[in-house]
Structure formats: C-alpha cells, structure tokens
Amino acid sequence: MKTASKGIWQPIALSESIGSEVPIRVCYEAKEVALFRDGIGKVRALKDRCPHRRVPLSLGKVIEGELRCAYHGWTFDGSSGACTQIPNLSDEEKVPSRYKVDAYSVHEDNGFVFLWSGQNPPSKDGDKPVFAANEDLPLYGNVIVPLATSAYRLAMLDGPETLIGIHNIGFTDFFLGDPVTRDGIIQVERNAGWIRRGKPPSKWATDYPFILRTISSFEDGTIIHQLFDDKEQIVAQIYMSIFPGTRSTTNIVWRGNVNFNHKDAGKISRTKAPIDIFSHLDGEAIANLLVGPSSQFQEAV
C-alpha cells in the first residue's frame, strides 16, 4: 500500500468501531488519534490532544458532527481541525482562526479505516488503499498485545499458532519450501490439519488437508492469512493490520471470513470464535520459537 506520495495508508480501525456520538482513540506509532464520524457519516481523524489544556479529545463527544472536548467544550471541525466554538463567548467574539488541532487524512474502505502516514497529504488521484478489496469479511476484531510490533511480525512467520487460531485447525511448522519475497511482501506456506481431541495435527501424516499461506508486507505491517484445501479452495482468510502502540505494544485490527459452505468447514465452530487473534500471549511459547522463515524477512528488510 505504499504510494507515490511517500506515505502509506495504514488500516488503524474498523468501520464498526467508529460512531457519530463518541470518538475512539487509536495510537499509531507516535500519533495519538481521535476518530469519529461527522454529520454526514464520514470518518474524521484529529490529533488526540485539545490545544487548550491538552486533554485527550477522545474523551469528548460528537455534537452536530463536530468533536467537543470533554473539559471545556472547545469544539473542532473534523475536516480542517479548526476550533469552531468556545462556549460562553458572546456573539461578537470570534474564535481566532489559528486555534486548531492537527487533522489527519483518513479513508474508509472494505470495513477498514485507513490513516495516511505521510508528512504531506496524499495525492488526489490513484492513492487509495487496496487492502481487502472485494472481500466479504464479516468476522472482525481488534486487540492490543504486549509484544513489540517487529517481534510480533517475526513470530507470525515462525509460529503463527502462538498468535492466532482458526477453530479446530492446527498449524504445523513444516514449511512448504522457502519463503518467497516479491513486490514488497514475503510469503510463507505451511501445512495445517485438524486438531483432534485437543492434540495438534500428527507429525506422521502422509498429507495434510490444509495449507496456511501467510503474506506479510514489508512496508505497512499488514498480514494476510489464507487457509486453503488441497483443491486450492479457500476455507478461511484473515486480513490483519499490525502497527506499533504505546509502551512497545502492538495494535492489531483484523477482519476475516470462514467459508462455511466448504465441505470441511463444518468442523470449524460458527459460535466459538471461528477466528481468534490472541490478546493474551504465551511468552514461553514465543520465546522458544525457532528461527525459520523470519530469517529471510529480516534479510529482505
């Protein structure tokens, strides 16, 4: 998703998370962002700090499409960041035009809300993100995990079973060939099979029913998982956006689907979180992961 304008569109939130009554707060690297919907339902992003007394604007309310600070009611236009109202001023008193908060470029598509990371605004034409385009992804969620983003991404290549789960599916560490790097991504494939009686797929199987393909971007921290069968039909897929949060945590925003029409998908529960992005991590399991495909990722980076 890197574009010609020296920035990226980073998915930082889910469409469902953003309402028109109260904002939400997202930390993306050093940026603290308050996200909300304006009067016509368009997502807006403002720096999460009132220029008056530094209180997070995400504690406030959306009033008539604008974001009002919880502390003194200073109100800001989501498009320009301009302060439009200071309560109790008389009709003759105007808010100085320099009173404003940083407004960030955002774009909403495919159930994700993207934040523009570049110093300069994105170009008008051809700069829209394409993540998860044309996919129906009814499952979704977001979590914050206590692991640095770089470590999370490497662990995802070497041992995704420590970070994510698809119900009843066990991921093996039998990698199918070496990772492939191309066009700013690294792709790893591994065998996967059914978990039976709580046990992972047998190491002695002659063949496994599934392959998990993991595609990790070098540039924007997105990861796509595709679980497909021996006929190359997709059984489940997960689109993840992974970006640094505060205190060396990692934010994860994800959407996914399971093809419950697939003949084998019946063993994947519809009710017990068919897709699970772990919020509590097994530190010992992650620490003990042996270096595998992540070595090529680091070389490529």
Partner: protein
C-alpha cells in the same frame, strides 16, 4: 524534596515546589495516637497525638529508637519534628525552613470555627490524579463545570451573561465568577428545593499560591451558599490530596447531609480529564496552550506561581509586602461577618 527546575518555556505545574508555608496535612479528626502518614512535595509527614497534642515528624515514631534511623533533613532543622499546629479542623504542618514557621501565616477562613467544631459529615477526603498546581488550575477555571459537572451544577454553557474577574497579590489570587440566567443547578433543585428554572451564581475562590489552599464561596440565588475549603496538598508530581471541609449550616437539612458526599462524584469527574492531562504537563511542550478570556485567572495563576518559583530559586523565601496571607477575607468572599 529539592528538584532541579526544568527549563521554563512552558507551564510545567510539577515544578512549583514552593516552601515556607503551612499545609493542612490532615483533618484533625483523622489524627489519633495511631500514626498516619501524609506526603508534601514527596516529603514524608507522620502525624500522631500524644495526650491529645498533635505531632508531625519526618520519620515514624517507632523509628526514633531504631539503631539505623535516617538522618533528619533541613525541613525539620535536624530535629525530625516539623512545626505543627491545629486550627479550623485541620492539622497544619510547616513545609520549608522550620525557623520561619509563623502561625500568623495561616490562612483566615471566615466560615469555619477556629476550634474546628464542624460535624464529621461535612468533611471529605478526595484524591486527585494530578499534581497540586494542575488541580488548583482546574478549580480556578469554572467553565469546565458546565461540561464535567453538568448533572450536579447544571447547564452546558447556557447563560445570559458570564463574567469572570480576579484580583491578586504575590501570594494569593482571588477569582470571582458571576453568572446570570444560569439553568438552576440540579443539586439545588433536587436537594435544595429551589423551584426556579434559572438562578444567579456568584462563585468566589481565594487561592493561597504556595500551599494550593483554596477557599471557595459559591452563592446561588435563589438558593443558598456552599462555603468550603479545598486544600490541594501536593503529594508529588502526579497526585494531590484534598481534605475538604464544608460549612453548610444555612442549607436545608437534606442538602447539608448530601452535598459533602457529592464531592465523591465531582472528584472522579475531574479526574476523568486530569488523570490523562497530568502526564502531558510533565515535560515542556513545543506547542503552547491556547487560551480564551475565561482562562485569565488561570493564566495569572501560572504567572504568579512562576514568579514565586523564580524568587525562591534565588533563595528568597520571604513574603512580599503586598501579601498578608492571614488577613481577614470575610469581605472578599462576600460574607457579612466571620463566624468567629
């Protein structure tokens, strides 16, 4: 504790470790033979009574006989004991050079009896998740009440007129807010029996800069007065403690009983914003705060605190000739006479 001042190109409220002042470190009723611990600018204060007489020391009384007890600091002049006194229902302890302690510097509180004879239900203890100076600034600025405390005080910026004036010396700041045509405060309607739809509101706040001791006199008409003191004792850079005392003897019985307890509702409402606000004032910011005219008293407070800080950092802890911290403030608060 002595701290190296950070470069003062921004308002850094944690920097103002002002000395030579009395702090009301505890409700007098909270101090007994069993020692309790309080903090003032990260300096420990152990409080207890011997035969009814209050003591304040920088070590636990059991530690006096310990073989390895720490050395006494300059705050007690090497004696381990702080100057201490009891008045208006508080235990007051001196912070600074003990040789400069003078009871004439105690604030005057015209609506509290000097002997502290105030019912226990009119005392509260609130912990603020911000340093003292930021908490005082919050109190000075009453426009936030419309938004944070609307369900108690009422209105969200709705009034016919809203004027704020202030006066100051080098040691005190007095802010008066006059609001006309304000929707009647819910607390006045539901607990005070006020049937009007709108009321006038005059709020006077008298702040002692060194100690963060705030004397508040809100007056509602129709309605009644809610005189109270809020001493923002600086625990450290991140938290402050308020042992609040009301005198609501003129208010209806239900109001008198319940109003002090509303402090436990209002305090968390302030903490809702101050808790995340405080860390954003620990270091200088490249972006300066913006202000409206309603911030004039708060801005003056910042200026006066900075002036005091600069004077003390040069070794001058004296009180200016314009400042009489123990002066009678009955008239300033709009009261007819002091109760003592």
């Amino acid at each position: 504790m002595a701290k190296v001042a950070k470069k003062q190109q921004d308002w850094i409220p944690t920097n103002y470790d002002l000395r030579d002042t009395w702090f009301p470190v505890a409700h007098a009723t909270d101090v007994s033979a069993n020692p309790v611990r309080r903090m003032v600018h990260s300096q420990p204060y152990y409080l207890w009574r011997d035969n009814g007489t209050a003591n304040a020391a920088e070590i636990h009384p059991h530690a006096f006989t310990a073989a390895n007890k720490p050395s006494a600091t300059a705050f007690t002049g090497g004696s381990y004991y702080y100057p201490v006194c009891e008045q208006y229902g508080y235990i007051w302890a001196w912070y600074g050079n003990p040789g400069n302690a003078d009871m004439a510097l105690l604030p005057h509180i015209p609506f509290l009896p000097k002997n502290g004879d105030i019912p226990k239900y009119m005392r509260t203890t609130i912990r603020f998740d911000a340093c003292s100076a930021l908490s005082v600034e919050n109190l000075l600025d009453l426009t936030h009440a419309d938004f944070l405390h609307g369900e108690v005080i009422g209105g969200e910026g709705e009034s016919e007129s809203d004027e704020i004036t202030f006066d100051y010396t080098s040691e005190t700041l007095t802010r008066v807010r006059m609001v006309v045509g304000k929707p009647v405060a819910p607390v006045m309607k539901w607990l005070g029996g006020v049937r009007a739809t709108h009321q006038e509101f005059r709020s006077t706040l008298h702040v002692h800069l060194r100690s963060g001791f705030c004397i508040s006199y809100p007056r509602f008409r129709p309605g009644f007065d809610i005189p109270n003191v809020q001493p923002f004792v600086p625990n450290g850079s991140h938290r402050s403690r308020v042992d609040q005392i009301f005198n609501l003897t003129d208010a209806p019985l239900i109001f008198r009983r319940i109003m002090p307890k509303l402090a436990y509702k209002v305090g968390p409402q302030d903490n809702y914003v101050m808790r995340p606000q405080n860390p954003r004032y620990l270091e200088p910011s490249p972006v300066r705060d913006m202000h409206s005219r309603f911030d004039a008293p708060g801005n003056r407070y910042r200026f006066l605190m900075q002036a005091l800080h600069e004077r003390q950092s040069k070794g001058d802890y004296s009180y200016g000739s314009d400042a009489d911290t123990g002066a009678d403030i009955t008239e300033i608060l709009g009261m007819e006479k002091s109760i003592d």
